[in-house]
Amino acid sequence: MKVKVLFFASLREQLGTSGEEIELPAGVATVAALRSHLARRGGAWEGALAEKKNVRAAVNQDMAKPGEAIRTGDEIAFFPPVTGG
């Protein structure tokens, strides 16, 4: 399935990209699985998305927990904890 992935703030800078369309292999069907899938690219990806890093996610512009399911066409964003206000 194909999804759109977005990155913001420090994550965007570490990865050197604000996002991409990505074709996912079968079995990558949750936010956590997508994060691990991207981290396996190694280098900056592994560093920025490692499990110990405090990374938040949103699915279709709604805050999402790691176990949340993702579907074809979804927009999934990864970012550090927010610091507005």
Binding site: Q61, M63, V82, T83, G84, G85
Partner: protein
């Protein structure tokens, strides 16, 4: 309800004057966040930001008697003393207005997708989220879960 995510500055007296025209209004409580002592750039997630702020304001209106409210949050480059955020709530009585205003601000700090990057003489750095902000939001009962 007015929700705006914008580069431009805002006018507190204009916004509260608009809210004070609400039918049955007896109180308008407002909060303005100001840049403390360092230049910064505020990044946000266009689309999600507006919907997150709308949800927070709607949640406040389910908890207190809110007649109307305004949330304005700026993004882009800001300098010390610049205004960053405005939350203003109109109610019949001050208790509802004060509480809803504080609730919206506390939730905004942990739920609205904004990120601050500070520009200090020694270099630029992203601001780290503070545990005290999570604690402030946690003081309120959790939001009612939407039936799905």
């Amino acid at each position: 309800m007015k929700i705006s995510v914008q580069r431009e500055d805002f006018d507190l007296s204009l916004e509260t004057k608009l809210l004070s025209k609400s039918d049955g209004v007896g109180a308008v409580a407002s909060f303005v966040g100001v840049v403390r002592d360092v230049r910064m750039t505020l990044e946000h997630y266009p689309g999600m930001t507006e919907s997150a702020l709308t949800k927070i304001a709607e949640e406040a209106a389910t908890r207190w008697k809110v007649l109307d409210c305004t949330v304005i949050h700026r993004y882009g480059d800001l300098a010390p003393h610049d205004q960053i955020v405005l939350v203003a709530v109109a109610s019949a009585h001050r208790g509802d207005a004060f509480a809803a205003c504080e609730f919206i601000m506390d939730y905004l700090k942990t739920q609205a997708p904004f990120w601050k990057k500070e520009h200090r003489p020694e270099g630029a750095a992203w601001v780290e989220a503070r545990a005290s902000d999570d604690e402030a939001a946690g003081r309120w009962e959790p939001p009612a879960r939407k039936a799905s």
